[in-house]
């Protein structure tokens, strides 16, 4: 268990954040001679490069050199796995925003201006832009995949009720406040150190080594902190680091690449947008008998992480509900748009949208309260096998939902809303209480590993390093708390150091919510190694057995005596006992046979529920979120303030995805919403005044995680589904028993379309 003081530690960088002296990569002092790299890209979605005229770029003021694919001696690939993402285009372009060259100049301003002078002639081809286009032309980046149980067709046909419907769910721009950036500094010989704002330093290292045809040991990748990432820097920070490194290798100078915000939004992938078609059978109580769904995702021009994202959409197409028989099909569509990538939830949110919409539709058709339909469909005794064959053994969704139902006064508010809607001509209110169940572990099993490096110094201070990266989520703070707790010392003497591939190698990305689960355990493992050595020494000093030694309150104690931790470490040096250790962790028990759809892909599930109330204006489609109540399960919290920060932040991010954040591509495949002026993430006034978040009072994670805590990074995004369902509920109030055709994001226009469909259905 974590001691109380460690639990309440503020974010390790908080004081530096507020003073403006927490350095991000662009804030680092630039060594003399630093050059700046700016990528040049096409706005054509598909075509052959007929002619590339770089003369004016090369001769522009302060330009040092221009990079093209011909400068790459090794592999021209920055993909995470499939080998299908070019660092620099060769003779063909696959999306509007594909990088063809990069200018290296003495100033960033000079490089940006020079990049505009390029002459690119492209013999355009007709692009495939939408899911519908890709379906028609059977374009996919990866083969389809299926979960199946029972005879779905006949089950649905023989059910007392059924539905046949579809929902369109938009994508989402990450909008990390710190845009993509990398800074490559040549070292001795062919070695190079690359500072990259990346969730995956090892992948950046490996990609650059491959590109420069050097051993991985020549490249160091370091990241102290990111100004937000949210999945957008898992695989797609690599290209920018590679270009900075390519420039540094060619010029021998330190080279920095920082994307302009508009370029960042045009050039990097987003959350996958989905079109989901589904049929379901259900009984008079609204309980499902059978579900069939086809999930079509726009993956963009390459595979990137689409395998995992789409698999996870399938893994969460049940959300917290039992499907007695089912068929879930996933199609990974290929389009001439930017390659979509990881985004907090990693496909999970898109899968759960469908599950929740199905609940809303069933309620609408049966005239029941959607909460009752949800409750009756939850996993429970004898209804506990997921669509992928894993048994749910830690289900607490029913308890969480019931508790929230009471604490937020759901039933009373439902009555008040019904009355309000009856009395009001223009304004309608809606309410919804929805659950979340989210599987924790990378579904690519080998990524569930982590390393750590712990150094204890002779004054008793400690350095901790691990493979996880800090993007604001408080990972460093949590792991430092764990280390302090293990040694029984004040957290102030535990020094957190930047994540770097020369301290802890061969790491997994910081993703899948698993940062603390994995790195916290690895750090604990390293501490245990050192403690074991120290205990033997302390036992000698204190004349007791090593098994009786305890580390607490900056002391090492046993029944016969005690000594200061710092004195013991000094003694260890004199006695030639190693004070440094690596730690390692691999998540136990998980298995996944993807081919046969068999195994236990998740170590455990994280649960939560939220209730949202909204008002809509049926004349304009404007919407306001009036109240939100959240109850979320983090097991035994390692740091309640940090956990609540993740929950609230995730919820608001999910709310943005489902309401104001709309990506618009035009008919040439160009993104029209490439700046915060046109792409609207939530701002402070979108947050309801009544916004309550509580941690579920847990007995601790049933799985043996670090101090029985639970992962918290991604699950809260899906809490925002209660907002979307509440909007559906408000629209549904316009006409009884008619199912609103509401798609996401629920912009004013989208809400008006749904309202109009209700009115025309009753006309």
């Amino acid at each position: 268990m974590l001691n109380e003081s460690a639990k309440h530690k503020t974010h390790d960088s908080a004081v530096h954040h507020v003073k403006g002296d927490a350095p991000y990569i662009d804030d680092m002092p630039e060594p003399h001679g630093t050059l700046h790299v700016v990528p040049g890209y096409t706005n054509v979605a598909a075509g052959k490069i007929a002619h590339l005229d770089l003369e004016a770029v090369r001769t522009a003021p302060d330009v040092v050199t221009v990079l093209t694919y011909a400068d790459i001696v090794g592999m021209n690939d920055c993909s995470p796995a499939m080998g299908d993402d070019l660092i620099l285009a060769i003779d063909e372009v696959f999306f509007s925003g594909q990088v063809i060259f990069a200018v290296v100049a003495k100033t960033r301003d000079a490089a940006r201006k020079a990049a505009k002078l390029v002459g690119i002639e492209i013999a355009t081809m007709s692009p495939v832009l939408t899911i519908a286009d890709a379906k028609k032309k059977s374009k996919t980046v990866l083969p389809p995949y299926q979960f199946k149980r029972g005879d779905v067709e006949s089950e649905i046909a023989n059910s007392p009720h059924n539905l046949n419907s579809e929902i369109v769910v938009g994508g989402q721009e990450h909008f990390y406040l710190e845009g993509q950036i990398a800074f490559a500094v040549p070292l001795e010989g062919t070695s190079m150190k690359v500072y990259s704002s990346t969730q995956h330093p090892s992948e950046v290292q490996h990609c650059i080594a491959r590109m420069l045809d050097l051993p991985q040991a020549d490249i160091i990748c370091e990241v102290r902190r990111m100004g937000g990432a949210f999945g957008g820097k898992e695989s797609q920070a690599t290209q920018w680091a590679a270009l900075a490194a390519l420039a540094a290798a060619k010029t021998g100078k330190p080279c920095k690449l920082r994307l302009d915000r508009d370029d960042d939004m045009i050039l990097t992938g987003k959350r996958h947008d989905f079109e989901i078609e589904y049929q379901a059978g259900f009984n008079d109580q609204g309980q499902l008998t059978s579900v069939k769904s086809d999930l079509y995702a726009r993956c963009g021009c390459s595979a990137d992480l689409s395998l995992g994202v789409n698999d996870r959409a399938m893994f969460h197409a049940d959300n917290a509900y039992f499907y007695p028989s089912l068929e879930i099909n996933s199609y990974r569509m290929k389009t001439n748009t930017v390659s979509n990538t990881a985004f907090r939830g990693f496909g999970g949110p898109q899968g759960t949208v469908f599950a929740e919409r199905m609940m809303d539709e069933i309620a609408c058709k049966l005239g029941k309260d959607p909460l009752d339909v949800r409750l009756t469909n939850l996993y429970g005794p004898d209804r506990d096998i997921t669509p992928y064959g894993m048994q749910v053994v830690d289900n607490i969704a029913p308890q969480i939902m019931r508790e929230l139902e009471t604490s937020c006064d759901y039933r009373k508010r439902r009555t008040a809303i019904t009355k309000f809607n009856a009395e009001n001509k223009y304004l309608k209110k809606g309410i919804a209480l929805t659950p979340v169940k989210f599987g924790i572990s990378f579904t690519l099993i080998h990524l569930n590993q982590a390393g750590a490096l712990v150094h204890v110094y002779t004054d008793g201070s400690v350095q901790i390093n691990h493979g996880g990266t800090e993007m604001g989520q408080g990972l460093y703070t949590k792991v430092a708390s764990i280390v302090a707790n293990e040694f029984g010392i004040d957290i102030d003497v535990v020094k957190i150091t930047a994540t770097t591939t020369d301290k802890v190698p061969n790491t997994a990305p910081t993703a899948a919510s698993a940062g603390t689960d994995l790195n916290g355990m690895a750090a604990k493992n390293a501490c245990e190694t050192i403690k074991k050595r120290l205990a033997v020494l302390a036992a000698e000093q204190l004349n007791c057995s090593a098994g009786d030694i305890r580390f607490s309150q900056n002391k090492v104690t046993c029944p016969k005596g005690e000594m200061n931790f710092a004195d013991l470490t000094k003694k260890a040096f004199l006695q030639r006992v190693s004070l440094s250790a690596t730690g390692f962790y691999a998540t136990p028990k998980i298995t996944w046979d993807r081919e046969n759809v068999e195994g236990t892909p998740f170590f455990y599930f994280a649960y939560g529920a939220s209730c949202s109330e909204v008002t809509i204006d049926t004349l304009t489609g404007e919407m306001k979120v009036e109240q939100v109540d959240i109850l979320h399960d983090v097991g035994t919290s390692l740091n309640p303030a940090i956990d609540i920060g993740q929950i609230e932040g995730g919820f608001v991010q999910g709310m943005g995805w489902l309401t104001t954040e709309e990506l618009v591509f035009d008919d040439r495949g160009q993104l029209r919403t490439h700046a915060p002026s046109t792409y609207k993430i939530p701002t402070v006034s979108d947050i309801p005044e009544n916004f309550t978040t509580k941690l579920w009072e847990s007995d601790g994670n049933k799985a043996d995680t670090i101090y029985r805590s639970k992962a918290v990074g991604e699950p809260p995004v899906m809490l925002a589904l209660s907002v979307f369902s509440a909007i559906f509920d408000a629209v549904a109030s316009v006409a009884p028993n008619i199912v609103p055709k509401l798609h996401a994001p629920a912009t004013p226009e989208s809400i008006m379309k749904a309202v109009a469909s209700m009115k025309s259905a009753t006309a």
Binding site: T10, H11, S13, A14, V15, H16, H17, V18, K19, G20, D21, A22, D26, P29, D109, F175, Y176, L177, E178, G227, G228, A229, F230, R261, K425, Y426, L427, G472, Q473, T615, L619, T620, G621, E622, A641, I644, G645, E648, G649, G650, F651, V652, Q653, T660, A675, P676, S677, T678, K680, P682, T683, V684, S685, D686, I687, F691, T747, P748, E749, M752
Partner: protein, 486 residues
Amino acid sequence: MPKKSIKFFHGTELVELSNVGPSETILDYLRLRMHLTGTKEGCGEGDCGACTVAIGQLHEGKVAYQPVNSCIQLLGSLDGKELVTVEDLASPSGKLHPVQSAMVENHGSQCGFCTPGFIMSLFVLQQEGTNPDRNEINNALAGNLCRCTGYRPIIDAAKQVCNEPVIERPAALFALLEKNQDTFIGDETSFFASPSTQSALATLYHEHQDATLVAGATDVGLWITKQLRPLPKVIYLGAVKSLKNIAIEIADLVMGAGVTYAQALPHLDALHPDLGQVVRRIGSKQVRAVGTIGGNIANGSPIGDMPPMLIALSSQIELRSIEGKRSIALEDFYIEYGKQDLKPNEYLAQIRISLLQANQQFRAYKISKRFDQDISAIMAGFCFTIENDAIMNARCAFGGMAGTPMLAHKTQAALMGLSIKDETAWQQAAQLLAQDFTPMDDMRASAQYRLNTAKALLLKARAEIAGETNTRILQADSKGAPTHAQ
């Protein structure tokens, strides 16, 4: 002779610069020249607030602060002012400023990249010395985007710190700064100029008709940071005192073109709360601190929020040059998309807005994807003259419906004589909007939605004037206080 340098305070220093690039931004000055990296660039277009700094000006013997987006604010605009950045708040010994402590204690930062901007917005809010309610906090922070926290802890930090005593800032130093002087830095081919009178402005603009007039730079700033447009000659309007006059003249509210949104807000709100509400939703506090009513008119955008409302209110504008001045109706200023009735050496000097008469009813609506700091998909301003429930005159002006802000002439004609209570007749009249306008599909809305919503807004205005209640989700007052419809 104009002076050849600018002077301002930063930290405890009096800074004098004689090398000021015409289009150099405050953010570039801080980060590239001074290597002060606390202030961050998030978007480079004034929409995220990560680059927020506070600008102090002397007001009635005290220093009054406003937040601005330093990424699109010209360095030259600092002349005669105080610049406060995130580095300046903690004491030299390292003791945090109360706004910084409050953010730490409330866990207001996660990734930390937006934090310096929030700190500066909170600093300004606290300096204002009010005890803000939630709506005023929204108002103060809506220009700062945070992608991590979901804002709740930052709201709590704001509540906490505004209950703590304000640390007074020294005003005496302002005596060292020059006032009311023309500035000209550069040469005949490239300069930053800041005239202090309209006659100096008219003369300079006559001599340099290729110069760019810059007021708040909330639009021109993007020409610099995004379009990378060379702007060798810049004439900054912020020091021209007479462009900042506000007066009531008989039945008109008269404002100089250099009046900022922030300065105009109380006066427009007094004219009608809907005007106040829309102005409160223009940009963010950072944008309203520097952006001007004149700029919103003169840039000719078809989606500016002010013009439809001002056209509905029968506003006149005054254009001036070295040759003299002329007045025209605002709707006549807009000729077509990208083209205004403005001669090469002319500038917009003044706006004259008719006050509402007892028999007039005004309504304005802004529709956007996000409540705060969004550009409208559609903007509507209505002014009806009503006698015995009958429409005697109707002015229905829209933004986002055509290449310019425009009146709906056919619809207006059809409304003449209709009873405010005759919903059916209004529904028929609203159909004529389809003849008045052929709106576009774009990333903000489809043509169909724009047309349908234009109709809906006209009918909403009728319903409200006819006395129906609960017609809006919320009605924000000018301080940004959204109050639920009863």
